[in-house]
């Protein structure tokens, strides 16, 4: 079974994200990047399915040159190959633009299943997977906390407010996984060495048959008007427990009239 995983490569969790006031975009160039931990769960799920049923896992990412480090990470985990959409023409894409690019890249490979994370850890709009699914004409299944495949059928446990729903679909389908679905493996030395020989295809928007007015800043339906820091919360009082921490909290609760 051929599995395509859409994984975003995002500024590393150690980086304080800055916004460029001129372009109103996240500063990505020159910033340490990593495979989104949420996407790592999707990669892990793909690897587990392939270990069970055979097949390939292809990682697809749209991102800047620095994203290669995250791609290598997925390859070192065990992904078969990767596709990197790297082109200034896609910079400034909104969610739909991103989905158009990813869907066009997915269509270039044979696939039975597309895996995404339900939402990315940096901008978490949570709508790219559903957009891709529509563009591919496959059913979208999101918030999956368990996946099982049998023949051309897929069953997921979809997290719900009160528990979970068991959802069944035919393949091909797109499944967005919830980030608690698994514990992604750490790449081992052998995997890291093997990753160096694996193929990373690089595509431009033109390679994907997309015209510049469909994607990137020109194609974006969402335009950022302003971006700023919200007013800072007034600093509170922090005390160290010297054996009366609980009493001090009670005093505070009395002060704010909760008790």
């Amino acid at each position: 079974m051929n599995i395509v995983v859409c994984g975003k490569v995002i500024p590393a969790s150690t980086v304080t994200i800055e916004i460029d006031p001129a372009t109103k975009r996240m500063v990505r160039k020159g910033v340490a990047h990593e495979l989104d931990p949420a996407a790592a769960c999707a990669v892990e799920e793909g690897l587990r399915l392939v270990e069970k049923h055979g097949g390939t896992v292809t990682l697809i990412t749209m991102g800047i040159a620095d994203a290669t480090i995250g791609i290598r990470n997925a390859l070192a985990m065990g992904a078969t190959s990767a596709v990197h959409i790297l082109d200034d023409a896609v910079a400034g894409s909104d969610t739909l633009g991103t989905a158009k690019v990813l869907a066009a890249a997915i269509k270039k490979q044979p696939f039975d299943l597309v895996l995404c994370a339900t939402e990315s850890s940096d901008s978490y709009s949570g709508i790219v997977p559903g957009q891709i699914a529509f563009l591919l004409g496959v059913p979208p299944l999101s918030f999956a906390k368990e996946i099982a495949v049998e023949g051309d059928r897929i069953t997921i446990k979809r997290q719900s407010e009160s528990g979970f729903d068991v959802v069944e679909s035919t393949l091909p389908a797109l499944v967005a996984v919830s980030s608690g679905i698994n514990e992604p493996r750490y790449p081992q030395l052998k995997g890291i060495m093997a990753a160096k020989k694996k193929e990373i295809k690089v595509y431009t928007a033109a390679d994907l048959g997309l015209s510049p007015d469909q994607v990137g800043e020109k194609g974006a339906k969402e335009k950022v008007l302003t971006i700023g820091r919200p007013p800072k919360r007034q600093a509170g009082k922090i005390v160290t427990d010297e054996g009366d921490g609980g009493r001090q909290i009670a005093d505070f609760l009395a002060e704010i009239k909760v008790i």
Binding site: I17, K24, T95, L96, T118, E119, S121, D122, S125, G126, P129, G130, Q131, I132, F134, V138, P139, P140, L141, S142, F143, T155, E161, S162, G163, D165, V166, V167, E168, S169, S178, S179, G180, A220, K221, E222, K223, V224, L225, T226, I227, G228, R233, Q234, G236, I238, V239, T240, D241, G245, G246, R247, Q248, I249, A250, F252, L253, I256, V258, I259
Partner: protein
């Protein structure tokens, strides 16, 4: 004429969801609010929608919307949008709401903005405020193009308001197209939930990985009970299987806005903060003085929660008894 603003009604716990009522309040304040109600719903659901501001309800009770995921609802809503062309369509920023809005955005080639905290509408142009990156930034964005404007609204962004409207229902037909019936809900499984629920709680006592285990949540339940509140948790505690998902607060859980939030053994990751940061008062207990949660706390105790929480419980009992 007032702009028509649609609210896609969502059910949770067999009733119209709180976020739906919040969206109706904003829609009615901004223009003429109308609602879409798809799938089997409790009998009083239309009346509730009208009571909270919907001047018209597009309804179809067909179980297809309940039994199949996303596609039938997307088809119906897309047809309604193309026919009636509302200025804005609001969805809850829930998982179901996002799936639906994402599909519509691709289908109608229009923009959709997620996690909207507020919006204005002027001369057909929408300006949305989005608390981005765990609310450490505040964006305003607009949608361009001739298509409908889809906004996904963050829970607890608006106050629901009774705004009685006459009950006007327009029945719509369910799509018959079999190709929409690809992803079917086979079974719904409810897991045990105990104690008061988070929605609407004035006080929330929340536990994280620092709680070390399921059994220690008993202590938080006792504290919450003394304060007349509910118990919440971080995803770390939910993923560890200590408490059910319904208790998770944060980006992938619930958004809460109580008067008092007590965070016990919670580091304050952005994904958690994004669900509770706007609580009126935040009190935290953490043994790490550098835990980010302290930057958002009105009162913080650096210390061992296994000492501080029991003392707080004793103190509250004493003061209550007095």
């Amino acid at each position: 004429m007032a702009d028509v603003i649609w609210v896609y009604a969502e059910l949770s716990d067999e009733r119209v969801s709180p976020t739906t009522l919040e969206m109706l309040a904003k829609a009615a304040e901004t223009g003429k609010a109308e609602a879409i109600l798809l799938g089997p719903a409790p009998d009083d659901a239309p009346a509730t929608l009208a009571k909270y501001g919907a001047s018209k309800i597009y309804r179809c009770a067909d179980p297809v919307y309940r039994d199949y995921l996303t596609l039938p609802a997307a088809q119906t809503v897309a047809e309604l949008i193309e026919k009636h062309r509302p200025a804005v369509v609001l969805f809850a920023s829930s998982y179901g709401g996002r799936d639906l809005a994402a599909n519509l955005s691709a289908r109608l080639d229009c923009g959709a903005i997620s996690d909207v905290g507020d919006f204005t509408l002027k001369d057909g142009s929408v300006e949305a405020t989005i608390p981005a990156l765990g609310a450490s930034y505040l964006n305003t964005s607009t949608l361009v193009g001739s298509g409908p404007k889809l906004l996904l609204v963050r829970p607890k962004s608006f106050e629901p308001k009774v705004n009685e409207q006459p009950l006007v229902i327009e029945e719509v037909a369910a799509p018959a197209d079999a190709s929409l019936r690809k992803a079917r809900v086979k079974e719904r499984v409810a897991v045990r939930r105990e104690g008061p629920q988070l929605d609407g709680a004035k006080t929330i006592v929340s536990g994280g990985r620092g709680l070390k285990g399921e059994e220690n949540f008993a202590m938080l339940r006792e504290l919450a009970e003394l304060l007349g509140g509910a118990v919440g948790a971080t995803r770390a505690a939910v993923d560890a299987g200590w408490v059910p998902y319904a208790m998770q607060i944060g980006q992938t859980g619930k958004t809460v806005k109580p008067d008092l939030y007590i965070a016990c053994g919670i580091s304050g990751a952005v994904q958690h903060l994004s669900g509770m940061k706007t609580s009126k008062y935040i009190v935290s207990i953490n043994k790490d003085p550098d835990a980010p949660i302290f930057q958002y706390s009105d009162f913080g105790v650096v210390g061992d929660l296994f000492k501080v929480v029991p003392q707080l419980i004793e103190e509250l009992k004493k003061r209550k008894g007095a």
